[in-house]
């Protein structure tokens, strides 16, 4: 008989997510926002020229997912990630179901890692969905045309598509760090609303820290900065420095968050429910 473990928990966490409305709220927003943006571009003259790639949205549909990522990084994608990651542990407390699953044949650590995998899967799916929808909608509106890089060179549509996919992959690093922080709050606060709002406040605070005089030196190490690291791919040649920095900065946020959350989860008394 195969022994249940993390993958069993993971499969059932996905099954539970499929049955909850909040899952579709986040995924629905991830799909709708790029569609609304594309419709707005299609019916209005002009372009958001003050953001990178904004001036190219009437030239190529490949600029759409990149502009969407830029607009969404302050609160939209962190909110989507937090909707599930901030709820996935606290929801068990709210339902009183933690005692139900912790008295079966899986260890607490396996339950925790199953939840982490499920939360990460959701965040990854949301970013993939938004990227695919924005790309398709953008191509419909502005065509599948070459895209200029930040260095001024022009990339073919095929290579541009690869760069968009790579940008989405790099963008996942800060998103997963945000998910990890939301998981920490979900585990510690045992309250979904507090975890979701707390994660959003954390994300917004990081954006604001750099406006404090004397703290601008922190910018390269803030999680918010890593949301722009994908732009390194859109240079010729590719600038890997911001991407490598994003990798370790995001890990520096995510790993301690998950480690603390795991410790709390393993040691806590399940006294409610």
């Amino acid at each position: 008989m195969s022994r249940p473990g993390t993958l069993t928990v993971y499969r059932w966490e996905l099954r539970k997510l499929r049955a909850q409305k909040r899952t579709y709220l986040g995924l629905g927003a991830a799909v709708l926002v790029p569609i609304v943006f594309s419709v707005a571009v299609a019916i209005q003259p002009g372009e958001p020229a003050d953001v990178p790639f904004g001036r190219y949205i009437n030239d190529t549909g490949l600029a759409f997912p990149l502009v969407t990522l830029l607009f969404g990084s302050i609160w939209f994608y962190p909110l989507i990630a937090a909707l599930v990651s901030g709820d996935i542990v606290a929801n068990e407390d709210n339902n009183g179901t933690l005692k139900t699953i912790l008295t079966r044949s899986v260890e607490r650590s396996q339950v925790f890692f199953g939840k982490v995998l499920a939360a990460f899967s959701y965040s990854i799916l949301a970013i993939i969905l938004t990227g695919v929808v924005a790309t398709v909608a953008g191509i419909i509106v502005s065509g599948f045309n070459p895209i200029p890089t930040l260095s001024g060179t022009l990339e073919t549509p095929e290579r541009g598509l690869l760069l968009v996919a790579g940008s989405l992959a790099v963008y996942l690093m800060p998103i997963l760090a945000i998910s990890s922080f939301a998981l920490l709050l979900s585990t510690v606060f045992r309250n979904s609303a507090a975890a979701v709002v707390g994660t959003l406040m954390f994300s917004l605070l990081l954006q604001l820290v750099v406006i404090i005089p004397g703290l601008d030196g922190l910018q390269p190490y803030l999680l918010s900065t890593q949301f722009n690291s994908w732009q390194g791919l859109l240079r010729t040649p590719a600038d890997w420095d911001p991407i490598i920095r994003a990798a370790w900065v995001c890990a520096a946020y995510a790993i301690p968050s998950l480690a603390i959350a795991l410790t709390v989860f393993l040691r806590r008394d399940v006294a409610g429910g």
């Binding site: 928990v9 049955a19 009183g96 005692k99 008295t103 079966r104 044949s105 899986v106 399940v270």
Partner: protein, 325 residues
Amino acid sequence: MSEQPPVALRGLTKQYGHITAVDDVSLTVNEGDVFGYLGPNGAGKTTSLRMMLGLITPTAGEARVFGHDPQKSVDALADVAGFVEAPRFYPYLDGMTNLRLVAALDGNEAKTRIDEALDVVELTGRASDKVGGYSHGMRQRLGIAAALIRRPKLLLLDEPATGLDPGGMRDMRALIARLSAEGMTVMLSSHLLAEVEELCNRVAIVRSGRIVYEGELDELRATAGLTIRLRTSDDEVALRVLSDRRGISDVTRRGAAPIQFRAADEAAIGELSRALADSGALIFELAPSAATLEDLFFELTEGEGDAQAEEKRLDELSDLTGGEQ
């Protein structure tokens, strides 16, 4: 037969701040027992059960199930199932899916027992309904089904009849009796004395977190001695005969109710009946009145009469544990 008892608690203690919810509890549940863990609300029954299931870490002492420590690994619970407080499930999933979920967390074999378990608790017809629409009684029954699919040797049930209507309580008791007859060891916490009296062969009575009695239910009754009820043609004369008589104690009379007293043995009753006849008090009724579990329970749990202190303790515990004790 397993060498280790299904439940062995040794010096089990749980403190929340300065409040001691469970205080140095030691008890043993033997194989085949239907063991009643009896006490008023807030006495620490649920906290003890949570420690037995590894949900709460003891401050001191240890809880062992079949010799294993549930604090170290869920493997210790391989032969154990049950629930604490009301069983909880995912309200947005149907009953069948909830059972599939917990069965998946138990291993593949448990899945094959779902239909049988649903049948036992008579929920087959509602298995496809979302649990959010279940009544309290249906959730209790689903909790039993979730326990049964583990095919446990030890069933831990916390107030299993709470919230059930009289029919539901009867069915729950019948189910527990049947599972016990099939060889399952059952430990149930309860504050319902009739439930314990009907089902259990052994009990522990807990008060303010401490065990005040552990043993056979019959032995507990025996400790109360033989209480006798007496009605005569002249109770005033009878009371005089009873006073200071060897082997007779605790003589009481409340209003028009029969006189009650305790007799050391049957010889003392025989001598009393002769003395009553000699005194001219004709005996209308001289019958044993066995102490009920209720009498014994209140005797053991209300001894100090410090109700306000107990209430304060309960309030503080509730604050510290989020409503659970």
